[in-house]
Amino acid sequence: MASFNSNEWRAICDKFTNAQNLTETESRKDPENDPFRSKYKARDLLREIYCSLKSFEAGEGEEDSSGESGDQRPTEEPVDGQREDVFGQGFSGDSPAGLRAARLGAVEYYLGVNHVDTEELSAGQEHLMNCMKLLERCRVSSQNVSLFIHVRNQLGILWAGRDETETAQGFLETAESIYQRYMKEDGSPPTDMTEYFTTEENLLTHQERTKRFELAYTHTMYYLAQVYKNLGQTERAATYCHTTLQRQLQLNQFTPMEWALNAATLSQYYITKGRYMEGRHCLSAATVISDLAGEVPSEAAAQESEAESERREHLRQKRAEIARCWIKYCLNLLQDARKQLEDNIGELDTDRQDELKMARRREEEEEEKGRKSALLFGSEDTFDSIASIEEKVMCLFPLDFTEARSVFLVGQNYVTQAKDFFQMDGYVTDHIEILQDHSALFRALAFFEEDMERRCKMHKRRVDMLETICNDLNAQYYLLIRRQLMFELAETYNEMMDLKLTLANRQADTQSLDNHTIKKFNHLCSASAKYFQMFLDSLCSPEGKYPEHLEEEVLRPALVARFRVARLHSRFISSSPTVQLDNLNKSLENYKYVVQYCEAHPEAEAAVETELELSKEMVGLLPLKINRLKARMASNN
């Protein structure tokens, strides 16, 4: 600057460097009882700089006044959101006046941030708005665009902190559009704000400039993601999270494992929304990027050093977490496909299958188009590896057994990986959740299997993996998990029983069932009833009393279990009339319970509408059957 002599200028630069140092480094060491000591010191320095600049401006004012006085702008506060054309008017950022405004603005900006950091929000706001006012007189240029973005980021944070999310949104969205327009129209590496106060020899390289500028914009994206999340616009929020991740990757500003885990988590958002292509992309990228975190240290290495053992644990756990996200992907894909294909009794609807297969070609084309327009992760070197992982599993709904099986196998592979880390000893809850997913994978696959015998075997696999664990768990500490497992086991046995019966009926159309089948059938029937009963018993008080009032979260399961127990008892096959009678009585008792409970607690009716209706009917019908049986017994005697 012309009228600062070099010594004066150097002094200002030193002050600035000092202030930066105090804010960023020293302030971390401030004591608890004086937490803002360094920040206050920095503030004082910034104020001095401000005064120097101001006094200089006052001296300069005369010669330059023609330019300034000609520009009579309204003094009202600039409010973002009603976007002004910051590119078209005002003086150029490169002009001396423009540079002066930018410098003063930068000091105001730093003062603003300083005040916000020290919890003086309104003072901070004032400084930031002063900065906005100064910039208002300038056109966006490579000299000042960084400040344009930064000040809006800060104002966005400030307003979001006050719960005025819409105001925050305005500032951040303007920042976004300024960035985009600048990159389109100019795009040269912009001056960083710190460079306003450096001597010539300390100017940044172009690379460093770009890096800092892009990082500021990454933050804009990240803040917008949070703003949209707080506004309840989850889809937009997800898009901005996605963009943030993508930018971190592109600009090489990330730690691999953290990034991978975030991408994997984001995939879970996509799969719950049914957007499997995006979900798969996130997961594939997560897998590839997590490999950048390095090799997992061997067990031997881990035993030798604590640091290595910690690293091993860390890497294995994170990879297992990503594997679990993959499991959920496969599971949801299969389950959603099933929903598309099943008829009203839960069996494969072949008409629907043909229809969907016809539509498939169209979908494939759309997938191709979608891929092109979607936000993709990856730099040149990772792009291919991500694509190759994507190819291993489909993202369209599987429509037949072969396709379903391929998805299942991928899922099962990840189950093995995840279980390898989340072992029963040490990670009980996680381990069981994985097993439950594995079981659910089998269940979903079984739907596609046409061969009843094999379908039954799949269910048997489910029983095998859950039964021992359910019985091994401490009933006190794992009450809730055990309830889930009991219910699932009961339902699985029930399903197997149904399958066996259908099979037997199909094979032996005319003749009655043979002894072996009956035995098998009764075994499955009683196993199912046993687990439902275990579930119901788990609701009892320590004294063994069944609760009079069911808590909301167990209301439906408990009533459904009763209903199913009733049904199972009436299905037992026995030739002995006394056993038959006994079973029918038990059945009636349970149906009655459902009806009576709903009478006493009308609020429960909505939860079990169909079951209640059937129970009522059965309560009417069963006594007749029982009486008939009794009559027959009497006459036989």
């Binding site: 004066e8 005064c51 966005g156 999270c241 958002y269 719950t272 401490n474 500490y477 008080s541």
Partner: protein
């Protein structure tokens, strides 16, 4: 009255208010803002900033304790039943929750030396060991204690002497025992003295690890865990083991909850924007929060460790502590609201019958094994003795029959060794004396004898070790009715029982009172089945009145907030007006009395000195030289 679910029971919440401190008494003219109705278990909170017409806020709890309450009362009424159920094999947790400086630590620990002022923890110790000493002698007990703290999401073992430099402990899970802290020190305690010692060691470790004790303790959660295992022969003749776990939790100051990240309070921060990209994971997790997806996100350590106690399978008492001073109004209200919400957490307590993990069973098994080994050795040595006697020795050792006592075994073993040594020596002699034997063979035989001697000694050592181990094991077990000598204190026992009865009755009374209130409300509603229009009108008016007061309450709350804003705005406006007036005045002076040239000169020379917070004139001497001079001074 609605039927209650028998299998679940809510968290019991009691509230305690400390007295006004002398400082508060002198500074605040208005006195306390907390009123308590001990009979009804109600806390009435007065807003010091509100007009007297405003309705006060009332909260109802399981029990309330005012400034005059004694430690003993709180213990007998609210804690004793919980400890009793721990002794019966339930899990129990006691939380202390409240703003720093409201007496959490006083409630939990109290003053150890003064029996009147001892807090929940020392009383609980006393309770546990007195119970053990008075139980029947067929019961065996094992008491273990652990002490840890959670500070900034790191678990630190306070009983581990190296805990300050060791890294944080990990939470793990086991199918038999649920969530546990890996490698946590667990001390077996045989007496009150021992467990108090454990507590002291931990407290010291806590103080040492922290640079600023107050600051530290208000930010960290301290957990003292006691496990009581009890074995008793059942009617089937087998021994049944019950395990009760007691968690005594001193939570971080409630004003820090938001920062330390305990449940619930996090919501408040939800609207704020996270500045650092490192929190991107939280943002994404919040989006992906669905049941069908997996979110690699862990609960806080405290929540995981106590998951049984919060909505899980345990009996829980929460003691919320309040400060009565007007300046604590906001914090106190927050604490009360939080405590009120805690009432709704449902627990499912269950007796831990025969859990496979029980250490006690392990102990018993180990003892049985050791005893068997000992017996076997004894039997073997006797066999050898007999053998030997048959060979060379004519002794009168017959009378030594199989005594069960260890001393006998020892004595016997000792003698056996002596004899054996003598025998070997003699044989050695014999070999040496055998002239005809080949030298080599002689050497070999001698060596063999030598080895046998060594073996013998080893065997003896092993037996000794076994005996020692056996004794150590057995000493860890406490047997009911044996260890503590206060059998004679029957009177004290009676006294305690009476006290307990009284406590029980107070509790019942309060419950009935609360029920009565509830029933009053219900009768009002029952009257809705009207016989005449007039009654209906009456009832409706009553109801209207009730609703009206409720409305007033809420209105008042809204007004509160508004008033606060208005007041601060007015203040700001006033300041602004004053400043503007002054500024105008100054401008007027400048315009009218100072020529513009002078003004410019002055303005140019003015500089703001932030250190003294005022404007100063730049010296007329060129600034540069002064600047350098000053620097020069600084340097040399």
């Amino acid at each position: 009255v609605m039927s209650k679910n028998k299998s679940s029971e809510s968290v019991k919440v009691v509230v305690r208010c400390r007295p006004l401190s002398r400082k508060e008494e002198s500074s605040g003219p208005a006195g306390g803002i907390v009123q308590m109705d001990l009979r009804l278990g109600q806390v009435i909170l007065r807003n010091p900033r509100a007009p007297p017409s405003e309705p006060q806020k009332t909260f109802t709890f399981d029990a309330v304790y005012d400034a005059n309450s004694k430690q003993r009362e709180l213990y007998d009424e609210s804690v004793r039943p919980l400890i009793d159920s721990v002794l019966a094999g339930f899990n129990g947790t006691i939380f202390a929750y409240g703003q720093t400086g409201t007496g959490k630590t006083y409630t939990m620990q109290g003053a150890w030396l003064d029996p009147e002022k001892r807090g929940v923890i020392p009383n609980a110790f006393d309770h546990v060991f007195t119970h053990i000493s008075r139980s029947q002698s067929d019961k065996q007990y094992l008491v273990r204690a652990s002490y840890l703290e959670i500070y900034l999401e790191e678990i630190r073992d306070l009983l581990d002497p190296n805990h300050t430099n060791a890294r944080g402990l990990e939470l793990r899970e086991n199918p038999d025992t649920g969530v546990y802290v890996q490698d946590l020190t667990s001390c077996v305690c045989k007496s009150i003295k021992e467990i108090e010692e454990v507590m002291n060691v931990g407290n010291q470790a806590r103080a040492v690890g922290a640079t600023d004790m107050n600051e530290h303790s208000s930010r960290s959660h301290a957990l003292f865990l006691i496990t009581v295992e009890c074995s008793q022969p059942g009617p089937d003749g087998r021994k049944h083991i019950r395990v009760g776990r007691l968690n005594l939790v001193d939570l971080a100051g409630s004003e820090r909850q938001a920062k330390t990240g305990v449940q619930g309070e996090r919501l408040k921060e939800a609207a704020k924007i996270n500045l650092s990209l490192s929190a991107l994971g939280n943002v994404i997790s919040a989006l992906a929060d669905g049941r069908s997806g997996h979110v690699p996100y862990r609960d806080s350590k405290l929540t995981r460790l106590l998951q049984d106690s919060l909505g899980g399978n345990a009996k829980t008492v929460m003691v919320a502590t309040l400060g009565p001073a007007p300046q604590h109004y906001d914090e106190t209200l927050t604490t009360l609201r939080y405590a009120n919400r805690a009432k709704n957490i449902q627990n499912q307590p269950r007796v831990n019958e025969d859990p496979k993990d029980a250490l006690l069973r392990e102990f018993q098994r180990e003892i049985a094994r050791l005893r068997a080994q000992l017996n076997y050795r004894k039997w073997r040595s006797k066999q050898k003795n007999e053998q030997m006697e048959g060979e060379s020795w004519d002794g009168d050792r017959e009378k030594e029959t199989e005594g069960e006592e260890d001393e006998e075994v020892e004595k016997e073993a000792e003698e056996y060794v002596k004899l054996e040594e003598q025998r070997l020596e003699r044989e050695k002699e014999a070999i040496r004396g055998d002239e005809y034997m080949v030298a080599e063979e002689k050497q070999r035989l001698l060596g063999e004898k030598e080895r046998m001697m060594v073996d013998l000694r080893k065997e003896q050592e092993a037996t000794e070790q076994l005996t020692a181990k056996y004794k150590a094991m057995e000493s860890k077990l406490l047997v009911g009715g044996k260890n503590i000598i206060d059998h004679t204190n029957e009177q004290q026992k009676m006294l305690e029982m009476k006290r307990q009865e009284i406590a029980e009755q107070t509790r019942n009374e309060r419950e009935i009172q609360q029920q009565m209130l509830a029933q009053d409300e219900e009768t009002l509603e029952l009257r809705e089945t009207f016989t005449s229009l007039q009654q209906e009108v009456e009832a409706k008016t009553k109801k209207l009145k009730k609703l009206y007061t409720k409305l007033q309450c809420i209105k008042a709350e809204i007004k509160d907030v508004n008033d606060e804003h208005v007041k601060s705005r007015q203040e700001l406006e006033q300041t602004q007006n004053e400043l503007t007036r002054e500024l105008k005045f100054k401008y007027l002076i400048i315009e009218n009395f100072i020529p513009p040239e002078e003004k410019n000169k002055i303005m140019n020379r003015l500089i703001f000195d932030p250190e003294e917070d005022q404007w100063k004139f730049q010296p007329l001497v060129p600034a540069e030289s002064v600047y350098f001079e000053m620097h020069g001074l600084n340097f040399y």
